[in-house]
């Protein structure tokens, strides 16, 4: 079941995506953000909260002078470590308690700072490598069911209720659990602390909540004999911090898009570009699969018209991810089943798009998202639409399958809703398991022509963006009809230029710099294969 598409156009799309992302990459390299600096501290082991629940990483970064900040928090913090002889966490707590300030250590030589930091940088990277190795060991010992991997969300607001729901869903057949965040967390410029039991439309992402869910899923993985993956959200204002916490707590997937926050959450574009890059470097290293958010183009505008924008965004997301060292098999590009159920032959268009994505990104663990926009309170019809979505997914060999809920648009799923949803998917995917292998597309038929048209339109869109420049294109509302200014939106005050001598020890290590743990394990530095082919 293959569509005839012109590989020349696909190649040109990739070249255009590279020319779109290249200048943004140059900008990223000259800048950092408060979230990147806070994640450096988190990776070093700084954690906890000070008075008024202010996370200690925020407290430390916010207290830096503009000059110190421009050289990266690592140098100032390293000086503190060198002078006090404390471990990072203890130094953070001492600063929070007011017993010392980083400004007190300004005179400590920089070499001492670097020296004092190195063992902790090394230990942190070792810990992340250990987490990755744990995952690999479990995955080989506890094999997953064949894809599409059934992915369900839990979202009660209470991490302990979420745990109950997650375990029940795994018993029913779920392979991936995503803990939806409390609505609005993407706009918080800090990560909340500790276990949480109150949230709206979801549960706060905190390191302790990650730990609680990871432990529960590890236990049920052993019992079921298959490894269950855990997902959260590295999006919003704390992308790299969430990526750090996820690396340390062995999450397996993170929602992470290069443009979603800009367009749909009005987060500053410079902030987002810088944050997504560092978070993806971490994801690459920790073996985390990202899920991109192209479904949002389809839910906020007409799904038939937006198909080329989805494909164009997939090419851009792929390029940004490659530049951060991610291999194809960690890039879960998104698509969704959102065409109106009233449209005649809408199913044909859905199949065209899903198959087109599969062929263009053959190694990517594609993330296929269920109908939401056209779901109403009619749970019976909703269950049917979900069934067609399930059929499309298994036919076109999607990898990550977010199960649609019959109660979508009514409430966050009940325990029973999830069970019905998983049964729906299991039935369809079993009864039609090899359907895609048995059929061919009619040459020049509706499906093939639709796929070809979407591909051509995506190329035209990418060309337009390449001509304008990505930031200008976003300002001109080329994506999703939303206009965002380069210096507008949330979080812009947390973006700063790197001064001469800026140092981020983790970035240096992950890039394959002098202290890189990747150096020995790879032939080329950086680039699209990075550390990834050694598995």
């Amino acid at each position: 079941m293959e569509l005839q598409i012109d590989p020349g156009i696909v190649e040109r799309c990739r070249e255009l995506a590279a020319s779109i992302v290249e200048p943004v990459g140059a900008f990223i390299a000259g800048h950092s953000t408060v979230a990147v600096e806070r994640s450096v501290l988190r990776l070093l082991g700084v954690d906890g909260v000070a008075a008024d629940e202010v996370p200690i990483p925020n407290l430390i970064v916010d207290a830096l002078s503009a000059d110190d900040r421009a050289r990266g928090v690592a140098i100032a913090f390293g000086k503190g470590l060198a002078e006090t002889g404390l471990e990072p966490r203890a130094l953070g707590e001492a600063i929070a308690a007011g017993t010392c300030r980083l400004a007190d250590f300004a005179d400590v030589p920089e070499a001492a700072a670097r020296g004092a930091l190195q063992p902790f940088v090394k230990a942190s990277l070792e810990k992340i490598r250990g987490r990755r190795a744990e995952r690999e060991e479990k995955m080989s010992r506890l094999p997953q069911l064949p894809p599409p991997l059934l992915y369900v969300i839990v979202a009660s607001g209470n991490i302990y209720e979420d745990r109950t729901a997650a375990v029940a869903a795994v018993e029913a057949g779920a392979q991936i659990i995503a803990v939806i965040r409390s609505t609005g967390q993407s706009l918080l410029d800090f990560v909340p602390f500790g276990p949480t039991t109150e949230g709206f439309g979801g549960t706060y992402a905190t390191q302790e909540n990650f730990r609680i869910m990871r432990e529960a899923l590890d236990e049920i993985s052993e019992r079921e004999g298959r490894y269950v993956m855990l997902t959260n959200y590295a999006s919003g204002l704390c992308m790299p911090e969430i990526a750090s916490m996820a690396a340390l707590e062995r999450l397996d997937m993170l929602l992470n898009d290069s443009m979603y926050g800009i367009l749909f959450r009005d987060i500053n574009m410079k902030r987002t570009f810088i944050d997504q890059h560092f978070s993806r470097m971490l994801n690459a290293y920790s073996g985390i699969i990202i899920n991109t958010g192209e479904d949002n183009y389809l839910t906020t505008a007409d799904a038939v018209e937006q198909a080329p924008a989805v494909l164009a965004s997939q090419f851009i997301n792929e390029e940004f991810a490659h530049r951060a060292g991610m291999p194809d098999r960690q890039i879960g590009l998104g698509d969704a089943y959102e065409i109106s159920p009233d449209l005649q032959d809408g199913f044909l268009y859905q199949v065209a798009q899903a198959q087109l994505t599969r062929q263009i990104f053959p190694e990517a663990p594609l993330k296929y998202m269920p109908p939401t926009k056209h779901m109403t309170g009619d749970i019976f019809k909703g269950h049917l639409i979900d069934a067609m979505f399930n059929l499309t997914s298994v036919m076109t060999r999607q990898t990550i399958h977010l199960c649609g809920m019959l109660t979508e648009a009514i409430h966050t799923p009940f325990l029973g809703d999830r069970a019905l949803s998983i049964e729906n998917a299991q039935y369809i995917m079993n009864t039609a398991r090899h359907f895609g292998d048995e059929i061919t597309f009619k040459p020049g038929g509706t499906i093939e022509r639709r796929a070809q048209a979407v591909l051509s339109d995506a190329e035209a869109l990418l060309r337009k963006v390449a001509d304008m420049g990505l930031m200008n294109a976003i300002e001109a509302a080329v994506f999703a009809d939303v206009s965002r200014a380069p210096d507008g939106g949330r979080g812009f005050d947390g973006v700063f230029e790197r001064a001469e001598g800026y140092w981020n020890p983790f970035e240096e290590a992950l890039r394959g710099g002098p202290s890189s743990p990747l150096r020995s394990a790879q032939d080329d530095t950086g680039g699209r294969s990075a550390q990834n082919d050694k598995k």
Binding site: A168, A172, T183, F200, G377, L415, G416
Partner: protein
Amino acid sequence: MSNVIKPYGDATNDGKVQLSFTLPIEWSEAADEAARQLVAKMGFTDVQVVEGRKIATGFSFFVVYGSTSQSIDFATIKAPSAKTHAMSMEEIDAFVQEKLGRKIRIAGACIGTDAHTVGIDAILNMKGYKGDYGLERYHSFETFNLGSQIAVDDFVKFAKDHAIDALLASQVVTQKGSDIKNFTALAELLEAERLRDRVVLICGGPRVTNLMASELGYDAGFGRGTVPSEVAAFVATTLAGRLTPGGK
């Protein structure tokens, strides 16, 4: 004239109702019986547990049918609709031109932490919903779509700064009553700022009803399935009515 009704299965007044629910017990024949007795306690007769099964350790799912002994007199039901003035886009544009002689300034937002703009976009975006154009396409409306996660304070300030005639507040997330809290906060702040009587205040969302809206102090509420012209007609006729002495 009373009109007493019961649910209709396949015969008048048979009272047939279908229920489905989960109980936190392991499935067994006793679990089926527990489900049956629970539904009987709800007042249903002729209860049949047509499906009962394990869905997870310690959880069972049931589908149950029963007949209700309850009935309702439909003649006593009052739930006024805000969708009383059916007009097309062209008719609304002409109506506003004639009665107001200027554009209506309308602002919409998903208030509080709600990030789901699907409802507000369906009403405001040019594209519209179900083939009914959105308010951005009307000549008679100047539209401001503030998008998602707009704090109530900011929404009110925007209304004040931009001399807004009509406010559309949308809430999709209803968990723990967050929608009611946000709607209430908006109505109260408008009162406190002495703006309430100067604007047409409307709420919308899949769980919103016009009855609920009036209880919260809104001029109207629009629920699932609402098309833009219904909202536009309500705003236009309400504003026009306020210009008429004694009208509101």
